[in-house]
């Protein structure tokens, strides 16, 4: 893996909300074509990493590079324009807007491809095609998640950030979302996701980071982390 193909690099990141520091020197990177997942116990600072990347919290120190460009202290709207797409964990669709309107809003920063992208999204998420005129708030949790992901993909994203995309979903939808994530990635979009369903997430990921108390604990390929005895015992709920 050469440095030219590096899409995102977070290095030595110290960040938090107001006075409280949550991330104490995080390092992670995402290369072109990869799915990278961040797992760890509650309160480890997983979602905070994504918020820091989006410029939504105070960054004390460290750097965040998107395609070799430092984006620390850039306003959120500008960061989105630079090609970072983000799907929050909750409240990730505009409930009173229809499915199609949600997707149109997703295309806000470069609206010229809206029609082309809409067709692509309805191919990727056939379920949504039937529901395009329905308010997103009337959909089930799994379908909302699909709207949220499709909305984020309406721009030509350099990288897609997913915050716990399968939280609260039924096992059936969970598998469907993971296979969709794989498909999106195969279409050429690198993905950085934070997940609770660690085993399944590592299963589809190229690499994984395990965070504990706002710092890196383990790093490795998805398979290696799943097979690692300590990781399995501590973080994957394995009873071996």
């Amino acid at each position: 893996m050469t440095s030219q193909s590096e899409i995102m690099n977070v290095s030595n990141l110290f960040a938090g909300y107001g006075e409280t520091e949550i991330l104490h020197g995080i390092n992670l990177n995402v290369n072109d074509g990869e799915i990278v997942c961040v797992i760890g116990p509650n309160g480890a600072g997983k979602s905070t990493v994504l918020k820091a990347i989006l410029g939504q919290i105070n960054i004390r120190d460290g750097s965040i590079n998107l395609a070799d460009q430092d984006i620390v202290n850039t306003p959120t709207t500008e960061i989105i324009k630079k090609g970072i797409s983000y799907v929050p964990q909750t409240n990730n669709v505009f409930v009173s807007l229809t499915v199609e309107e949600n997707l149109e809003m997703g295309a806000w920063v470069n609206p010229e491809y809206t029609q082309k992208k809409l067709i692509e999204m309805y191919e990727l998420f056939p379920d949504l095609s039937e529901k395009r005129k329905q308010p997103a708030g009337s959909l089930s949790g799994g379908q909302r998640q699909m709207v949220a992901m499709a909305k984020a993909l309406m721009v030509n994203a350099k990288i897609l950030l997913l915050d716990e995309p399968t939280a609260g979903l039924s096992p059936k939808y969970r598998s469907e979302i993971f296979s969709t994530i794989k498909t999106i990635n195969n279409n050429g979009v690198p993905i950085l996701m934070v997940e609770q369903n660690a085993k399944q997430a590592l299963g589809v990921s190229d690499r994984g980071y395990i965070l504990v108390d706002g710092a890196n604990r383990h790093t490795g390929s998805g398979i290696d982390l799943i097979n690692d005895k300590e990781v399995a015992r501590m973080f994957l709920g394995s009873r071996e």
Binding site: Y86, N92, V109
Partner: protein, 316 residues
């Protein structure tokens, strides 16, 4: 069918109720949009309405001075709309924007202050007294009277009321088109749904806020001018007096819901006018002096029993 009951009811209660409802609806749109998108109760909204009416009166007088005859108020209000929007935008830029990330109460207080400042400025410029907006007695529209008379149902609606009702319908249709078909209108609904999500979606929230002042300012001036056309006078306190029924309308319809505001405005307008109808016996049900009490009662009852409003809006 068209007995004296219907004649009196329609001409003296129903149509005035509809007219008042239209005015409240237009005013409530601005209040509910500001609440939905900027998340605060804008006390200065009535003052934009009032300023719009005063500006329109000024342009009416100017037209008499320059051209020798009075323009129609709906022509004279066009420059007022631009000035009122400019006022709303500058107030937002200099007095509200600094408080965007502060607790809501601060921006509410700022708007309360703006209410007093704008009203005082209007009193300094135009004086504190009542001014006649349009002179003369409004006669019923002849065409409508004769046309409806041939169907044995004489409608005694003055032209000004026809202008108000049709004008409101046209504004509502345009507003509906904007919210459901245009990019900026959809973004306004999106920001109203969730400002945080709008931000991480890349929507330019400041642009949406400016659009909100455009629409709110426009509707406020129209409400003010319609009010002035209806009552035929203007006064520096007219905006403040409208504030309660407009808030009642916005809450009744569901705060943050533009079409709820329209519905709420119509209900409050009708309720105020119909409360004076002799439903039982010969005297009015409520003395017309209690009209504004009706809006207040509806407001209190809604807040107690259904704070989310008819269309399930946000709760304070």
């Amino acid at each position: 069918m068209w007995d004296s009951f219907g004649f009196e009811f329609v001409n003296y209660y129903f149509v005035p109720g509809l007219v008042l409802g239209c005015i409240y609806a237009l005013g409530a749109i601005g209040i509910t949009l500001t609440f939905g998108i900027l998340r605060f109760a804008n006390f200065a909204h009535g003052e934009i309405m009032m300023t719009g009416a005063f500006l329109t009166w000024t342009f009416l007088e100017l037209s008499k001075l320059i051209f020798g005859f009075y323009f129609h108020p709906l022509i004279a209000c066009i420059p007022s709309i631009f000035i009122a929007i400019a006022i709303a935008l500058s107030v937002d830029r200099f007095f509200y924007k600094p408080f965007r990330d502060s607790p809501t109460i601060m921006i509410v207080m700022a708007s309360f202050g703006m209410m007093l400042i704008i009203r005082s400025l209007v009193q300094v410029i135009w004086g504190p007294n009542q001014i006649t907006f349009v002179k003369g007695i409004a006669k019923p529209n002849g065409i409508l009277r004769d046309l409806s008379g041939s169907f044995d149902m004489m409608l005694l609606v003055p032209s000004k009321h026809i202008f108000i009702i049709l004008g409101t319908v046209i504004i509502m249709l345009a507003f509906n088109y904007m919210l459901t078909k245009t990019r900026i209108g959809k973004a306004m609904r999106a920001v109203s749904d969730s400002p945080d999500l709008a931000k991480v979606t890349g929507i330019d929230v400041e642009q949406v806020i400016r659009a909100t002042w455009y629409v709110g300012g426009f509707c406020a001036v129209m409400a003010g001018v319609f009010m002035a056309m209806d009552t035929q006078f203007i006064m520096s306190t007219m905006g403040f007096r409208m504030l309660l029924p407009m808030f009642a309308a916005a809450i009744l319809g569901g705060i943050g819901r533009p079409f709820g505001a329209v519905l709420g405005g119509l209900v409050i307008g009708f309720a105020e006018e119909l409360s004076a109808y002799p439903w039982f016996g010969n005297g009015p049900l409520l003395s017309p002096g209690y009209k504004s009490g009706v809006a207040f009662s509806i407001l209190v009852l809604m807040l107690i029993f259904r704070p989310s409003g008819i269309l399930k809006g946000r709760v304070f």
